[in-house]
Subunit: 221 residues, 2 copies
């Protein structure tokens, strides 16, 4: 098999059998955005009807992030040779495109695979469980959302710290660096941070109420 | 500077300027165990006096794990060249010894540094805060303990998965593999798992009580 020149940085990255990307950036993004919008719309109108706005928004987020984790990131984790794909499979194209922002994806960096593996296998299904938990008003709703959000934040920390330690030179250009590596991942820092704060406050408030209740009932242990 | 032969695996690991370990394994372990026992005894008798046994044990764990994170792991993170230490500094000897179980420590593997960095800088101080939170019966006690325990579990997952992906060939012998790499880290899987389950249950119980209370008060939103 002849080795094709790849577009990724560092230039000495070896990707024997690389097949060039065939979809345009706008097609790849449009499909992702349209599918996400479809999921969010479904959740908003079908599952979230009787819920307050914040909970409706959260259900949309958990459905969106859960499916992203399971489908997109799951495909990456379990398809080590996606860069050799010559069938224009959408998911392979996504990762060929994203690797322009972080070539460690095409290069199978072990820290990236570890983070993405945990995200796809544990956090993805847990996110869908969070949709259900919010819908049904389960008592574990806040603690589950907090646990997943902290996991997402921990994953992002590992992701950014390892890149920094290895020279932070994995983007094809500063456009891809800021739009894919920083921009796309930024949402998975910002939103989990907000959700973590909210859940933390809710859990502490419940614990506090509980303490007050048990004290008024003179049931102090 | 002449390159000394190091005892670590893989044998082609480059450690220019390596200074051989000067303390015996038993000295290193004895100092760690004695200091830990000292901390645990102090916490048990001074801080934990009025607490139930489980809470007393938890305070001892958080003090022990917090100081381990800050002092031992903090030293590792911020002393990249500990393997060149020729002053028999105890903390350098610890990591020279531990590297026999996982040479990625001496080799400055970026995933290991990232995990240890988060552990030392975030989880260490947070663990000491957990001692305080339990002592004072703070409302954030369970959620804080859960957050740290999940962080420790996430860190262990990254630690083990990256080693596996890179061939799992970092121990000098199977003795060091099972006693240091598996044995020592096993505690930081087992105990955080138990604490996570306990805190999860406590948080859900409080949320449940809270729901019941608000329903009886007809304050359903």
């Amino acid at each position: 098999m002849e080795e094709s020149a790849h577009p990724y940085v560092p230039r000495d990255l070896k990707l024997p059998g690389y097949v060039p990307i065939s979809m345009s950036m706008s097609t790849i993004l449009a499909v992702y955005l349209a599918s996400s919008l479809f999921v969010v719309t479904l959740v908003w109108f079908l599952l979230g009807r009787k819920k307050a706005t914040v909970e409706r928004l959260l259900m949309c987020w958990w459905a969106f992030t859960g499916l992203t984790h399971i489908i997109l990131e799951g495909y990456f984790v379990f398809t080590p040779e996606f860069f050799k794909d010559n069938t224009s499979t959408y998911l392979a194209e996504v990762w060929k495109e994203y690797s322009k922002g972080d070539s460690r994806y095409a290069g199978r960096d072990s820290a990236v695979i570890a983070v993405e593996g945990i995200t796809a296998v544990i956090e993805g299904p847990a996110s869908l469980l969070a949709v259900y938990a919010i819908a049904k008003g389960k008592s574990y709703s806040y603690v589950l959302q907090l646990a997943i959000s902290l996991g997402q934040l921990y994953g992002c920390l590992i992701y950014f710290i390892t890149a920094f330690l290895e020279g932070d030179n994995f983007a094809t250009s500063s456009f891809y660096y800021y739009s894919y590596y920083i921009g796309a991942n930024g949402w998975w820092v910002l939103i989990p941070l907000i959700i973590s704060f909210r859940c933390w406050k809710k859990i502490c408030a419940a614990a506090n109420n509980n303490n007050v209740e048990s004290k008024t009932k003179k049931k102090i242990r």
